[in-house]
């Protein structure tokens, strides 16, 4: 089954609840298992939080565009912003053994998505592609 949806949200944290709701519904349409859906919701929320914090430096009046696609291959989310360029090499989560505030979001994203890649061709802002391959009948 192929489904797609596009949403544009202001870069304000109050819209993260909408991101989670749409992500959850699209993941549900892809046939993903419930536990995986919760992981995916958290990961997409974290990716958008990173856009607000790092690309837009907390500016809540910018735009974030999310494109969702489901296909027999997997579940894909493309997140675009027009903020400051993010250097992928700087996106390293903290060592999980090193207990301190922050640095967990990237671990949540990489735990659930098989592909985490920035499109280097985008001149202004960032285009992050997240893809989770379909895994077995229950999606786990």
């Amino acid at each position: 089954m192929r489904d797609s949806a596009i949403i544009t949200i202001p870069s304000h944290p109050k819209y993260l609840a909408i991101v989670r709701a749409v992500t959850g519904k699209m993941a549900e349409l892809s046939g993903m298992a419930e536990s995986a859906i919760e992981d995916v919701k958290l990961a997409v929320d974290e990716a958008c939080s990173n856009v607000i914090k790092h690309a837009y430096k907390g500016n809540v009046n910018q735009k974030i565009v999310l494109r969702f696609k489901t296909s027999p291959k997997g579940f894909e989310v493309i997140i675009e912003d027009n903020g400051l360029k993010v250097h992928p090499e700087s996106l390293v989560g903290r060592d999980l053994e090193d207990i301190k505030p922050g640095g967990l979001g990237i671990h949540f994203i990489k735990k659930v998505f098989d592909i985490f890649a920035f499109d280097e061709k985008k001149k202004k802002g960032n285009r992050l592609r997240l893809l989770r391959y379909i895994k077995g009948k229950d999606g786990d």
Partner: protein, 109 residues
């Protein structure tokens, strides 16, 4: 997210409900830091009605734990739903937070 601070037989209990994310965690931080400023200990946190937590919520509690330890206080969590517990486990925070099954266990420990 809703936060209610109740007094249970002389012990402060923070009852949380709803979603803790980048939007709501600043309010959680304000409440938590307010209690730490008064050197409350032990501080119990009831997670029973928490439906979601992200890294900003977790970071707030890590900061709270570090703060409470500066005066020898204890931060105790109880009634954590399985989904939230999974996130704590994945983050290896189940090793640093005091986690109890229910209020009675948290009080007695």
């Amino acid at each position: 997210m809703e936060i209610e601070i109740v007094d249970y037989k002389g012990t402060k209990v923070m009852e949380l409900s709803g979603e803790i994310d980048m939007y709501t965690s600043p309010e959680l931080r304000r409440e938590l830091m307010g209690l730490l400023h008064k050197k409350v200990s032990p501080l119990l946190v009831d997670f029973k009605e928490v439906s979601y937590i992200d890294s900003s919520g977790i970071a707030t509690f890590v900061e709270g734990l570090k703060g409470i330890k500066t005066y020898g206080g204890r931060l105790k969590f109880f009634s954590i739903p399985d989904r939230i517990l999974e996130i704590f486990n994945f983050s290896k925070l189940d090793r640093v937070f005091e986690i109890y099954r229910n209020l009675d266990e948290a009080i007695k420990s």
